[in-house]
């Protein structure tokens, strides 16, 4: 009978708490998480430079970068590779595909940042980071996390949609339903008291019942 491998527990950061601070060497020099205060940040890890799925992802991240900038979002990549490897790979991507990677990439050789963010998941790989995405708001609070396995490239449309949903929630004090996209109706937070329920019933929202009401933002 084969035995399951035993791994040390992976520590994950937690939603709605301050994202773990770090200082790291990147392709744009030394950066600290706090350097990104006042803008949204997508911190994402990839398994390794010069690998096929990661290359398609970097091209895809570069393609959505202008849309992210319109939303006040910066990008910061990470892998357990040296800065020289990153530079060689990013130059190779530009040379072979014409796509310039405009955002910095952390060279996390000592795995310090990857460990803080639970990017090393030994069941997947002991030496490579999984495909993790962390969305950090302008106050440095971790707002969303997505983890993908090594074999599956990420969906950029979903990452943009998630940013839009978080920013819409913050701006309007609402939630967003399944498969929401900008322009769709949003969910009004559920009432907390009987009195609020009475008000809700008269508010003119699209009601399924008192706890599920939608409204248009236009």
């Amino acid at each position: 009978m084969s035995e399951m491998p035993v791994h040390a527990p992976v520590t994950l950061p937690r939603l709605n708490e301050p994202a773990p601070e770090f200082e790291a060497v990147t392709t744009h020099g030394v950066v600290r998480l706090s350097d990104f205060r006042d803008s949204w940040l997508i911190l994402f890890s990839h398994p390794a430079d010069f690998t096929p799925v990661c290359t398609t992802e970097f091209i895809a991240f570069a393609e959505i970068y202008p849309e992210l900038q319109k939303r006040g979002v910066e990008l910061l990549g990470l892998s357990i590779d040296s800065v020289y490897s990153h530079i060689a790979w990013l130059r190779n991507i530009e040379e072979k595909t014409g796509v310039k990677i405009p955002f910095p990439v952390i060279a996390d050789l000592n795995k310090e940042v990857a460990t803080k963010y639970g990017m090393i998941q030994p069941g997947a790989s002991k030496t490579e980071a999984v495909r993790a995405v962390f969305i950090i708001d302008p106050k440095g609070i971790l707002r969303a996390m997505i983890y993908y396995p090594l074999t599956t490239g990420r969906n950029m449309a979903e990452i943009l949609r998630l940013i839009d949903a978080l920013q819409t929630s913050d701006r309007h004090g609402v939630a967003t339903p399944a498969n929401w996209k900008p322009g769709d109706k949003v969910i009004v937070p559920a009432p907390q008291t009987m009195e609020m329920v009475e008000d809700r019933m008269k508010a003119g929202f699209e009601m399924v019942d008192w706890y599920l009401a939608k409204k248009s933002l236009e």
Binding site: H28, V31, F36
Partner: protein, 73 residues
Amino acid sequence: MACINPDGSLTPSALAVLRALETPATPAEIAQKAGLPLFRVRGSLRELVEAGLLAEREGIYSLTPQGREKTNA
């Protein structure tokens, strides 16, 4: 260092930061003037202060005499 080349010359982004400091300014003002992302400016400011080219007081940055010399070089 991302701002200073091994021969002591400044990188283009570091020069852009220094040239945005005709008058003392905050990181956000420097980012706007230099056309650089704020995170990049914050990292550059740290290095340029450490190198003695800038001084910081209560979040406002200004050129030191050495920094002024570099912008005129």
